[in-house]
Symmetry: D2
Subunit: 341 residues, 4 copies
């Protein structure tokens, strides 16, 4: 990387999927960062504007990025695609922000189980930090910023303060509900409108890829081994995630104390909001906001978190990480308010 | 009740709500039972056909039913409305099938907490039986057949065989997802289309009325005090419920044994089906079917059950109970197959 | 065809698409007809029950039907697939009911324009009759019963009585709105949930395949050349069609007279209903019903028709045609009442 | 009005409905205008933030605005509410931008027919200009800027260039499809989720309030009396309008010529875009964009226009008019790009 005199130059790898296109749109409106390269294996050669509905980006899609002319690479490619390229990106001196799953898990041994094959660059895992700025998870000096998956982001934000407080047992059930866009622009026939409209569909009951991320992050944050059971469900909406975390505890009297932990963690955040009554996922739609509600029922603390899977769960979170990593204003380019309805 | 020489005469109290109108439609097509009276406080004086979209029922809606000319009263009225009238129905000799919540809880002391006031006829609670035919919960000789709520039906069917097996701990988390029709035809502005479309919304986090029903039924069926934490969520669809039950256990090796309990319980049922992969709620839409899937993840047995909240969760279940109580064929009038999509 | 002593034996060609599977479900519950064969090129060898969600059909899917053992073949195959096989079906003596587009247009010259290639069996077009029983379009003695497409069925039912009355000009605009299931179970990525939810999308603005069917049928029924402009729109729902027909006329005073024509046409029909206020498409869902509303605004008679594209628009209409062609009761197997919501 | 030294002070009357709340959100982010007052009759006394989901506005809602301290009043109140107050606003020297219907129709005689009562301030109608900036409809010097309704905005933008060209007959059919939010935050039980989901519902078949606006604007713009037949339909989505305009003409050869008229009209607009293939309404969601597609079929030119009913159809259009009236940059505060999905 040659030092840029001015605006940091950003390249997006995998720029035509739902998350990639959203990221392009955000970066075009970013006050500081400058989008200079976009890549897409399937659509190389086309102008971005022609490859994505509503895009105003005039850059031509290339097969690969040229990291020597970039300060930052943001990748939204498929699983273990970024990993094979990230070495060259890092070697060129670019900071890598990875929206995909390639650098989330510390233990290389977990990839075959969850992703079906060996990690192509296990030595890079040491360079990577799973990052959640609000929780001080991750390093501002790291060369690879790994972002948690959409469900994992919600679950980590929802459960970490409670677990850190020691007021709950280190064992939680996470029930996830997601909009369909999480399956991506290239999803198969199981994701046709007529298959999923007017229906809730559980999936990955025996285990979902985001489970080990949640477990790793929460264990690190609370300094104790946390047991996580996580089951996701498809819900007939395009965007939005709601996770419901059930944490065993003594009960309601401690609700004020645990709430205090959440206020400490998120009181100064422009993006994470504690709400007195649950809010619908739609309130977070097309923004970087997360809304968290705490309640107590019987033997469980119940924490609900809602966010936009393509927003805080993917593209918007990537810009948040970009701002955080480069020391820019936290809300630069992603300061949009909630809208209703 | 004067004995009918022929077809049992049925009256529906509260015949113009979503569940009531569905019930009228089913009874019009029932091969044995004869719908002879319909009541509605808000719409008395109108012909049913004019009060409900698509109804072909030519009966006039009355303020009250005349139980002396009925063998069976089915009530879908609001909470604690049926209770005030049920005494006269029972005294006339009619069998009462109650779709509302008035006779579900054995303990009169629970009504003020969950329904905001004293039960108007606590002495009748002794006559009532919370009924789930497949589980032999309830009595074929009872004078009041109380049917569990939509969530409770799903949760009881989902968890009972596991709890009876002794293979799981008597403590479960139930995460519910429901279509909006559960709120009824008279729901308020919070249930407008624009408020709920494209959104998941948690509610009743601190406790929902169906929680004590689930707890009572599962405790009775498993002969041990069962602890239940239940949180429901609104999902943008009209019909359908999915409940996800998380039951702590030793783990996967016991999955076959617990599956065996489910086969014993439901193998002969025309309405409850074990599925090898989760199915979407829509497959149960406008039918009396329930689909149950078992899985194991980490420290929990995970049971998913899907049904139609207005089907097995309300009107169709009432006809199932009618057939069961009168000794008719189980599928009479409710034998419809699943349809897709 | 060997004469069956008893129940007519029915085979369904293309039994695993949305329309085909619905048809299988209906035939399993038909009181007279007997489903004895099902075929599917893509799924031959599998049992139907395993190939379609919710199916209870235990027949094995074959590559081709054996028409020598069938009284009736119902085909829901893709365009111009049935045409290539229908000759052998007819030669075996089976009656053919075609849900696809292969025999709708009388003029062989139209197929290249609308279906991209020559009709494979133009000589069979003389054997075929485009059929709408309520309008006495089609012949009860024909060997090939061609059913209009989903939009065309709605438009023909909506506009024919007005055109026959001579009270309107023979020129109409038909604006169609359809649920997504019309695109079929094998639709491509443009029909993913996330692409179509929360959106209306016009298509085929320059001309849609159902336009010539509508034009042919309405011209024949009104004995005058009718000019039809038809534009369809995708709407975010699974089932349902609404067509809005705009017919130029002198104006409102004639509304009673034209309404009288509709009463004559449909007054005795169990399936076509005139309504005083427009009803939503959902009221027709999973039934064979069509609801028609007439209004007048400025210089146009406005006729709205709603039906279920997989119901009266495809599978249920096929059973209606079966009953009609074999002289069975009109509602046999398809007598279901409307349900709400 | 005392001249403001700096930023123009804006008050929003009716600030808690869907359009009002959206407007508040936009004005909070506007680079020049300053939101200083918000009113709401039903919620006076509350802080805006507490009255509207997601609002970050700390202003207290008042019963009435104080126009003496405002440069501009934007009203989104119910029909004929603004009209009764607008006199005092105008007298104070404030510019009035009216999103409601109170000043759209020039002829006071039309209000009783369409709005059920006499116009409360007919003398003000002379001060008002129905305004569509792209078409140079309206005056930059007017004291009351009347904005067309959501359907009317779409129809006027869609049809005006064609009508002005003289290439089509001055008679059009407009078929409208709208998301449910058009009915407002205070809509009644007919707009419950369960009533409208999975359904298309025609309404106002005999005439809708937006018809005379469309007719007035198109007649003025094309200098000829234009005949308009307009029928709207509810579609199961929250935001979005699609209008399909059918204009009789000679046919396809003239398509290039008429397209040229559209390019002249909209080529320089940041908000109105001509598209080569129809786009879904969702592409305009939460923006001020309108996408227009032209096609020809048989005897009609077919123009499709899609926009967001709360965007260009209401709140965003009001900010566009504010910028236009005050001579600010066209995209100030409303420059958001389209997003997908």
């Amino acid at each position: 990387m040659q030092q840029a005199a001015g605006a940091p130059r950003i390249g997006v790898a995998g720029a035509t999927g739902y998350a990639g296109a959203e990221l392009v749109s955000l970066l075009l409106g970013h006050p500081v960062a400058q989008l200079t390269q976009v890549s897409s294996r399937s659509q190389a050669g086309r102008v971005h504007r022609e490859a994505c509905p509503g895009s105003g980006c005039e850059l031509e899609l290339t097969e690969e990025l040229d990291p020597t002319r970039l300060e930052v690479v943001i990748s939204t490619q498929s699983s273990l695609e970024a990993a094979a390229q990230a070495g060259s990106w890092v070697d060129s001196g670019a900071v890598v922000i990875d929206v995909s799953a390639d650098f989330r898990l510390r233990d290389p041994g977990l990839y075959p189980k969850w992703y079906g094959r060996e990690h192509p660059a296990p030595e890079l895992l040491r360079e990577a930090e799973l990052t959640v700025p609000e929780l001080e998870l991750g390093s501002r000096a790291g060369r690879i910023v790994a972002l948690p998956g959409c469900f994992a982001t919600a679950a980590i934000l929802a459960a970490a303060p409670a677990l850190r407080s020691g007021l709950v047992q280190p064992s939680l059930v996470v029930d996830g509900k997601t909009g369909i866009s999480g399956a991506g622009r290239g999803a198969g026939p199981a994701y046709l409108f007529s298959e999923l409209d007017e229906a809730v569909l559980p999936y990955a009951v025996a285990g979902h890829r985001h489970q080990p991320e949640i477990q790793q992050a929460l264990s690190e944050l609370s300094q104790i081994a946390v047991d996580v059971t996580f089951v996701p469900h498809l819900v007939p909406m395009t965007r939005g995630i709601c996770v419901t975390c059930y944490l065993p505890w003594e009960g309601g009297p401690a609700l004020d104390r645990v709430l205090q932990e959440y206020r400490l963690a998120y009181g100064a955040s422009p993006f994470v909001h504690l709400v007195e009554a649950p809010v619908p996922t739609k309130l977070a739609s097309r923004t970087n906001h997360t809304f968290i509600h705490l309640g107590s029922q019987g033997s469980h603390l119940v924490v609900e978190a809602v966010l936009d899977n393509l927003g805080r769960g993917a593209a918007w979170q990537a810009v948040q990480a970009l701002n955080w990593r480069l020391g820019l204003e936290a809300t630069a380019g992603i300061g949009r308010r909630p809208q209703w309805p």
